[in-house]
């Protein structure tokens, strides 16, 4: 199970940083906004699953934080695209993100107790790391609009903090 989880995390990281992003060479702002928003939605869905399944206070606190922070930044993103008159545009990166996120939800649905907590925490580390990588190497440099770029930079700070917090959480569950 652990091996499968690790593999899936690795495959997911690969999807994000490699093939899909290369394929969508130089996404435009409408696509970048869609990718960033989707990344948030996926983490919120994962957190909601954790809120239903976990009984561990640290895990529940972390999951509540993910829902709160990602909702805040996504609300801001929605307000910004509305202001800019941009319609977020679905794209292969968003689609592969979504597919990987859905697969995780399905995998983790079968777990319970400590096994679930660990799988969730480890995946949160891998996920935030992968999104940080994508933000740094592609999404932020490729964003044209200054306000979108700035929001993505806030997103990077947020995801970096979440990664640290997830690492602490995962270490505490060992």
């Amino acid at each position: 199970m652990i091996r499968r989880t690790l593999l899936a995390a690795a495959a997911f990281a690969l999807t994000l940083s490699g093939a899909a992003l290369a394929q969508a060479a130089k996404p435009n702002d409408a696509q970048i906004a869609h990718i960033a928003y989707t990344a948030g939605v996926i983490d919120i869905a994962a957190a909601k699953q954790a809120l239903k399944k976990s009984h561990n206070k640290q895990v529940l606190d972390f999951a509540n934080e993910m829902v709160r922070d990602h909702t805040a930044v996504n609300d801001k993103a929605l307000a910004l695209v509305k202001k800019l008159g941009v319609t977020p545009q679905d794209n292969p990166t968003s689609q592969s993100l979504k597919a990987a996120g859905d697969a995780k939800l399905k995998d983790f649905a079968k777990l319970s107790g400590k096994a679930f907590d660990k799988a969730y925490a480890n995946n949160e580390v891998a996920y935030h790391k992968a999104v940080n990588g994508a933000l740094q190497t592609t999404l932020i440099p490729d964003a044209k609009n200054a306000e979108l770029k700035s929001l993505l930079q806030t997103g990077l700070k947020l995801f970096t903090e979440h990664q640290h917090h997830a690492e602490m959480l995962a270490a505490g569950l060992k």
Binding site: R68, D69, A72, K76, T154, E161, H162, H164, H165, M168
Partner: protein
């Protein structure tokens, strides 16, 4: 000249004997996932008013446990500095957010 210096000394001495200055309130603002600069010249009895201008919820949590303030977006909250010393603080949600208060007696 000497008289002026003497006067200055006298008024300084008078100051020293005067009751301690009234407590002051200082703001520390949070924005963009970071604490703003912390004030210098803090004294016991002074008040820190935390202002969260960020879109995210944060906390101001003392490492020594002396305070732990929850700060939803737009929140203002006050912490009275009860003892002298250096108090390191951080955000429980975003542990990379840190700061330090230096409080004199």
């Amino acid at each position: 000249m000497a008289a002026a210096a003497g006067l200055a000394l006298l008024s300084l001495a008078a100051c020293n004997r005067a009751p301690p200055p009234a407590p002051k309130t200082y703001q520390v603002t949070i924005a963009n996932m970071a604490y703003g600069p912390t004030p210098s010249g803090l004294r016991t009895g002074d008040v820190i008013e935390w202002v969260n201008n960020d879109i995210f919820q944060h906390t101001a949590t003392a490492k020594d446990g002396s305070f732990d303030v929850d700060l939803p977006p737009q929140a203002h909250a006050r912490t009275v500095l009860k003892a002298p010393g250096v108090v390191a603080f951080y955000c429980r949600y975003h542990p990379g957010m840190t700061g330090k208060l230096v409080v004199a007696g």
